[in-house]
């Protein structure tokens, strides 16, 4: 037993010594500059300054690289990378970015469809109305003229005495909200249960009275997957990114034992 333990320690010691020897001779005090590194530095310099470096410039370039590397290694030796909040955060951020860029496997159609099904409410489409209207300006006794015109329209089908409406006459596939922009809040309530294909009204807006003929109503509905495919893909990717990052962190958290002073008191 003792023998085993001893030989184990010996081998361990040998490995440790070897490691130290290699580390100091091969890495710690050796700086190897490869040709392509220097060449690319020259390239950068040339592009930046507008001419190739002369010999002196080149010395400067290389010297700077060497000095930076040396200082970096010495700083590591002194453990300056430890307990430095900037370095800590930077590394944490870096692994976060790497993790986020990692997932590039495009989702399958099936996955997207399932996602779409599960988020149904998000993609719900409001009721849309297509209609034409006749406008009777309130500056010119609109309410009265509208009523008269409606009677005429129903009885005789004459051309009514209406006014032009500044933003137009025909409206295609507009939601209640869009209709509110031109006719005021609540105007579309008049259209919800209304008959299509014949003149109805008059309905009041802030500008006057309107007779409306609805040509088409598309009821509020769940869209087909194909109609919202693009939005679904974007949402899916965004959410997947977030959940993957989350579960990655949670998974790691399980491997750690976090201790906080139970008597910690926030002043």
């Amino acid at each position: 037993m003792t023998k085993k333990l001893l030989s184990f320690l010996c081998i361990g010691l040998a490995i440790l010594l070897l490691d130290i020897w290699f580390d100091s001779s091969n890495q710690d005090k050796n700086i190897v500059l490869y040709d392509d590194e220097i060449l690319s530095l020259i390239e950068i310099w040339t592009a930046q300054v507008g001419r190739p470096p002369n010999e002196e410039d080149l010395k400067g370039i290389i010297n700077q690289l060497v000095e930076e590397e040396i200082l970096y290694r010495e700083a590591l030796k002194l453990g300056l990378d430890k307990d430095d909040i900037i370095i800590k955060r930077r590394l944490a951020q870096k692994i976060g970015f790497l993790k986020q860029e990692e997932q590039s496997v495009p989702p399958t159609e099936l996955q997207l469809k399932q996602y779409f099904e599960s988020m149904e409410a998000e993609y719900f489409m409001d009721t849309r109305f297509s209609f034409t209207h006749l406008y009777f300006s309130k500056e010119k006794k609109g309410a009265e003229r509208a009523l008269n015109s409606l009677k005429q329209l129903r009885n005789l089908d004459t051309i009514p005495d209406s006014d032009p409406f500044l933003v137009g006459k025909n409206f295609l596939n507009k939601t209640a909200k869009q209709i509110a922009r031109d006719f005021g809040e609540g105007f579309s309530n008049n259209l919800i249960e209304a008959e299509t294909g014949r003149w109805i009204g008059p309905f009041k807006s802030i500008y006057g009275s309107h007779l409306v003929k609805i040509s088409k109503v598309v009821k509020a509905r769940k869209p087909n997957y194909d109609e919202v495919k693009k939005a679904v893909l974007l949402d899916y990717l965004l959410e997947k990114k977030q959940t993957e990052m989350r579960s990655y962190i949670e998974e790691l958290k399980n491997q750690y034992d976090v201790q906080i002073n139970p008597k910690f008191n926030y002043p």
């Binding site: 890495q27 190897v32 490869y34 590194e37 690319s40 530095l41 390239e43 950068i44 592009a47 930046q48 300054v49 507008g50 590397e69 909040i85 900037i86 800590k88 955060r89 930077r90 944490a92 951020q93 300006s137 309130k138 500056e139 005495d161 209406s162 006014d163 032009p164 500044l166 933003v167 137009g168 006459k169 295609l172 596939n173 909200k177 509110a180 922009r181 005021g184 807006s205 802030i206 500008y207 006057g208 974007l234």
Partner: protein, 689 residues
Amino acid sequence: MKFIKKGILFSFVTLFVFGCSNDSLNLQDSTSKDEPVNPTKTEDYNEERNLYFGDTHVHTKYSFDAYIFGTTATPDDAYTFAKGGSIKHPLGFDMQLSEPLDFYAVTDHGFFLGMFEKLADISHPASTLPGADPYHDINAPGNTGIDSISRRRNAFANFFWLSTFGNQFSQWRAKSFKNNIALSMPMFDYDVHKTAWKDIAESAERNYEPGKFTTFIGYEFTTNSGLIEGGNLHRNVLFETSKYPKRPWTRIDSINPEDLWSWMDQLRDLGLDSIAIPHNSNGSNGRMFETKAWDGSLVDKEYADFRMRNEPIVENTQVKGSSDTHPLLSPDDEWADFEIFPYRIGRGRTYSDPNGGYVRQAYQRGLGLQWEDRGNPYKFGVIGSSDTHTAAGAFVESDFYAKVGVLDGLPALRGTIPLSKDEYTQLSTGENNSNSFIEKEQGKYVDTYYSLWSASGLAAVWAEENTRKSIFSSFRRKETYATSGNRIRLRFFGGFDLQELDLSSEQLVKEAYKSAVPMGSDLMAKGSKSPSFLIWAQKDQRATSLQRLQIIKGWTDIEDGSTHEKIYDAACSDGLKVNTQTHRCPDNGAKVNLADCSVSNLGAAELKTVWTDPEFNPNEDAFYYVRVLENPSCRWTAWDAVNNQRKPRADLNLITQDRAWSSPIWYVPSSSTTADWIGNYDPAEDSTQ
């Protein structure tokens, strides 16, 4: 080790190699989609054009100042807001429009674009750049209360001087950095800059929904007339398509706007059209609309072409005041005193000379230059926009959250209601405090010029459909108008046979397009016939009713080239008639109750008329534009008080008359030099040459 070193090296290579080929002329595309050759029309395509409202002047966290003011909202957030969503103000409350907008453009300051978020982020290497200290963690949680205001002010002042002098430094260093001077600036990281710019472009692409919502890739070229004078010469640059240069051309490249236009000309040669939209000419100390070029030489036709090709429209109203005209320039205009912001921009309370800083005078100067046969560089249209620095424009008087984030997000910070004890303590103690206070009847107020901010403005365009292409061509042909924040609807046509139009015909607009020209156009003489104009306006359904329609006419005296202006009321509300001697509507008696901001039930929902010039000389060059006036209503300074159960502060401007201004229609006499120099740039024509 070797691997890491390679990695570092590689990132430097990409950084510098790109930095040195001239990235400002290196185009990339934010979309991978191929533009169809014959794009199909969207559902709402309308030959007679639809009206779209938008804002082309919006700052997000990528602007140095917005970030310093506490804004962390992204371009995506800005577009979410414009589409009707709710986003957070830096002070934590929600901002939401009562009605979504149709188009929106994020235009962050080009210089140091994107840098400040990273300078502040102490986990980012950029935060170790020289000069970054004052911004460290400036928007970290817990740092965004009103007790941070002094720190933010100091940080802003700090950068203001650094950037001004830093710019000078880089000029003598310029030789080795001639393609990208910014690289020579100590507090600059090109990677950060380009990444932010790319995000702006990609966000515009992500949020663009042809037919429904239009975005533009753009930025602000934030320049002035020089270090000492500081006359504001800011422009917003908007690109026509999904293409954009690898980096924006900024004041670090040159503070001369003509260099910006040259760059835009070069991009145009590469196939990317763009326009620059000057704003806050009111703060230019008279430098925006001069009769000289940058180098002091007199402007000529070549300059006029150059300028008009690049600057077809001007933003004449926004949060930092309106630039239509000034009481000193238009002494006979009773409504000239509207939202005047009398200072230079970014220079505290330094007076800005109005002479040369206002749009109406520029139109006149343009006619004068033309009379001298030097072309007209000032034949531009107008739009309004907000210049918000919180990603969300504040357009409505009764719901105004101002401009500069943490600094003015609460009424007490804008000096409209007294400070609470706690607020006073937070603002008056602490390091380097820069706040001053005044004592009034109701208590202690912040002494600030924020009360001059304006709940303004909006850009209105008439376009066939809600697409980039269609709206961009509206800008080019100037079929646009500006409002001081409300959604007043306005049609304006000029022609010679408009008297014959039936104003109540359903075909009115169709006929008008056929027999007349819309706002922004030239109206070529027809014998010696007097032109007439169709003016048609509807009120904003959420705002006060309309009081009157006016024509503002400017003309050159054919004998001596002197220029003049005159205001004509064209239609009155409440059944009133224009007095033919004074050309004014009688007072309609509309009043405002400052106790609760209620208004009298007067005014019109709609006004429509055909107006003929009663004092017309067929040989004189002239311009005509419309001003629509609402009834008086509470200005936001009064609403702030009323909304907080306070009495409005009597020494502030409390009543406003919100309005719309159209782009002009220029009358061109057959004898005019204009007849052979029109000065309107047509890209289609250009490409065939």
